[in-house]
Symmetry: C2
Subunit: 393 residues, 2 copies
Amino acid sequence: MTARPANPHQARLLRLLRDGGPSSRAQLGDRVELSRSKLAVEVDRLLETGLIVADGLAASRGGRRSHNVRIAPGLRFLAIDIGATSIDVAVTNAELEILGHLNQSMDVREGPVAVFEQALAMARKLQDDGLAGQFDGAGVGVPGPVRYPEGVPVAPPIMPGWDGFPVREALSQELGCPVMVDNDVNLMAMGEQQAGVARSVRDFICVKIGTGIGCGIVVGGQVYRGTTGSAGDIGHIRAEPDGRPCACGNTGCLEAYFSGAALARDAEIAATEGGSPELASRLAAAGTLTSVDVAAAAAAGDAASLELIRAGGARTGQVLAGLVSFFNPGLVIIGGGVTGLGHNLLASIRTQVYRQSLPLATGNLPIVLGELGAAAGVTGAARLISDHVFSSA
Amino acid sequence: MTARPANPHQARLLRLLRDGGPSSRAQLGDRVELSRSKLAVEVDRLLETGLIVADGLAASRGGRRSHNVRIAPGLRFLAIDIGATSIDVAVTNAELEILGHLNQSMDVREGPVAVFEQALAMARKLQDDGLAGQFDGAGVGVPGPVRYPEGVPVAPPIMPGWDGFPVREALSQELGCPVMVDNDVNLMAMGEQQAGVARSVRDFICVKIGTGIGCGIVVGGQVYRGTTGSAGDIGHIRAEPDGRPCACGNTGCLEAYFSGAALARDAEIAATEGGSPELASRLAAAGTLTSVDVAAAAAAGDAASLELIRAGGARTGQVLAGLVSFFNPGLVIIGGGVTGLGHNLLASIRTQVYRQSLPLATGNLPIVLGELGAAAGVTGAARLISDHVFSSA
């Protein structure tokens, strides 16, 4: 069992070293409100536990040169990001650098037992590659609302068999280490905050457009999960009064118009109804279409594909415009599978938001694509579990 | 100049006494993480500054009986709540009880100099009534976005002449005490949290439907103001694609459909076009109509008025449904001038939200009218300034 910090000061020091890398005691002293002698005591205690180690001489600041310290380089976190149609598994060190990353297709509807069997097999593969022995903690993302911090999926619409499954408890027993579970979109937001485009932003939203569409909300640097863990569930906000029927039973939901699933369906319609020879030939070749085909066709100049992206971006932008007026974020990130649609999508979203939201809310509001791609989720998962492990009980 | 707490422990003790009333040292000890001896030191120092006073013997908990302490009963806060068409001014003690409260009509468009001249005259009236000598702080609400904590209104749409006016600085000089300024809707939310329906709720939204429509957002017990202070500005969220033109230049905004101003206009149309004899006779008598007339007509069974309320509630509910899915609050409060429309309005809002939002977000979501009426804003203003005065620099 890995040691845990004994008090909030130690927890704070560990997080500083996680995020800032090797540091001198003087550098740490600049960041924490501790007297020099108390800081020395806490650093020494952390050295004794093995959570941090000495790491060469620090640069001189005029006085006697001291040793740098860094977080123990042997600590290993397991990061599991379950999507609707695939699993990402990665191993990171305690500075949350990804040491190895695997991705496999898997339908989340096969249920938690099958999905975690696969995820654990991928984790063992990374261990066998020499990337980790025992894990010091595991962070897990699932594509639906989660009762946090218990780590139990709640009424996940696209995940039959997952409702109430004790993910945290089951994996913790299996792995013999602490486990934390969160919604996949929250992890994407945390990942972009940890190592991506949101690094210095305190209030932002991160929209994931994958098979479905959801949104992570960060307030004051912390993920905001809402009263029952469903905050950010924007896929079923009404984009059109009396609009298309949605799988949820309502009509006009954003997801009924734009998401990986809606886009694939609309692309197949365009292909079969003669609207796009480009998509038709791709459908004939592959038997099915995804957002990747739409992106490729658009890049080849296919007008129908460009229009699908424009219309989808406009619907998304319309809903986001309202959320931007409400939440007044400092940044909007667009991520997830359909970001392959790239700047056409982004342009369409921006147009709507800048046109419809209040000038005061959009005057200085970047709307950008996520920077980390598939690494965002696993980085966020590692951040989630490290926040837990590097906290005092 | 009133003394200020010297450290965060003293600040915490003062807020506990503000919210909990007279308490024994033992009761305070249960609420703060301080050793018995350190607690005694801080309480003694607060007694020396005069910020708290001894207040009779505490009930015995088995040992030697000690004295209760309470916050100095002579402290006085001034609370000013500027609305679009009226001013509320109140005086409270340090436990935020309202000792006196005046309301006068005033058009905010007359500009900050005239408005504050009036507000200060009202304050002097309350002083002359013997309710206060010198004020220990003043909290001020204005009906538009505020750059916080500088206390300067920013680009307020309905307030020509207010943009950039240094409210905090000007009033602070005038009154000779600390002043804090915030948006009026945020103050309503804080008031309901301090003494109304949101007392134990950490995450909620408070919708104020007055001349315009806005929303206060509370996250983790704290008002969330957004990146540029415009969070909660929901009046210009689009309720209808290609809908009515709005004063803001866009089309289909919620405020173009429902607010005190929109309701008055629609009522006059119903009156003059023969849709409502009841409203017509009221218009003939008074020369103008307000939401008060619509409420009275609806209570008298006027079908056109009931339909105006129902339609307005449905539009509001439609926008709130999206915000509830996004924010997953623990409570939605409806307040402001049009709450005279009462349960017809509430029923219409509820229907839309419960129908359109995700079941996980509405499963346990009370949607209620505010409890404090006009006292919400001034209570929130007193809370705002007391949070500032009872904090350590």
